[in-house]
Amino acid sequence: MNTDLNSKALASVWAPAAQQLSFRKLMTAFSFPGRIETMTPEIQNKDFTVLRMILATLTDGEVTVADPHHMIDDHDWSKLETNRETPEKARFIVARGDIAPMFSPGLGSLECPETGATIILRVEHLGRGEPLVLRGPGIQSVKEVACSGLGAAWLCKRQEWNGAFPLGVDMILFDASRVIALPRTTRITTKEGKSWDM
């Protein structure tokens, strides 16, 4: 493999090769809920943020994005060529984990559960903080992952939204360099075995 060519092709979050790599990390994260994936450390320039990488990989003019907490700047909006939408209708929602959700995302329908939203949630730190205990597809028995900066309100709401499978929302949690994914099938409890059902 030509390493020069390789590093050049990976130099920008907008480059197809970088998005392919980033997608594979996201796919691994969704396949193994709770597994921490480091997003493209190959990209070292200032262009790189995890959020930009996720959005560049998954969104374009064919989908809609909601940004209730104003985390995407104007320049990125124009580069992404995607469509702004309210959190109620958007296919992707970008939000902060430390602010309680004040909206009801789309959960899909019985016929088309895939239209349930993907929520991309910024947390403070993955691998440090409150331990979450995960069970479900993609997890051999139990998986523990620590996370800080994720309000309990999010986990309560998530439980409510995902109450009637196949309807529900899928989540990507990200910090400064890493992600984990929580598909709607993942059941979350605390270390003490408490669920988030309230």
Binding site: M1, N2, L5, N6, A9, P16, A17, Q19, Q20, L21, F23, R24, L26, M27, F30, S31, F32, T57, L58, T59, D60, G61, E62, V63, S109, L110, E111, C112, P113, E114, T118, P137, G138, I139, Q140, F165, P166, D170, P183, R184, T185
Partner: protein
Amino acid sequence: MNPYYELPQDEAGYSFGFLDEYAKREVRRNILKAICIPGYQTPYASREMPMGRGFGTGGLQLTLSLVGWGDTLKVIDQGADDSVNAVNLRHFIELTCPGVDTTEQTREATLIQSRHRIPERQLTNAQVLVLQVPYPDPLVVVEPSEARRKIMHGEGDYSRLLTKLYEDIVRFDEITISHRYPTRINGHYVLDPSPIPRFDIPKLNQSPALILFGAGREKKIYAVPPYTNAEPLAFDDIAFRTEDFTDEQGRRRSCHRCGATDSFLDEFTRDDGVRIYQCSDSDYCNQGIVAHILSAGEAAL
């Protein structure tokens, strides 16, 4: 066309992975949703590929959206790397994805595209298996309307499919489904596992590797995530059974080439009329022979 028009020769040429980036992004979004809703057939705008619908275009679109530098790809058809269709697909991927390595060894592959078989060697959680699917919906046999099938799937209502299986038993005293055996994923959706033999169905259950299914003509993507339950539909009194490879004396037949007694076997009739059996998975068979030679060598020392 304008009489002065000339086809551009220098402005032609294909990009990495053949598909344009928008097409790949759409496939990728649907792969993630398919993983999040195990067994659900996610609709997508399948693109035309330069080989026929039915020749693995669904699997190919998945592979082209997944593959990148650093991947090692294996392409098999009927278990073999050099089946005509596998050769053709591998050639196309090599042509459009420069820098991607290919292999014939299951062990070395990061990405495996297959038609009709799951490799015998257990896959690892660092591998992804892509299966080509001709008919994605197991409910087609009992309900022709897709709109109604989607509701049945959503409600997890498979009573008519079970009735169909039961009628089979009454008529033939045996479930007659030979391959594409309807399988329930994570306790909800029943999927068509593509035309793999029943022999391969147990490999879906709690598989360490992600398994993706692509139906190009029917424009569907679905998945069995790693470590997920996959149960073939069956009844308490009539169990699900895999293909029977025992001979008249009740012994498990073996591969005439490598001697394996735990693999799915192809049946051949020799010129002299004698029926012989051989592993359908060519890499498994070759590895078996290599192991024999090695152990024979050790014994001789």
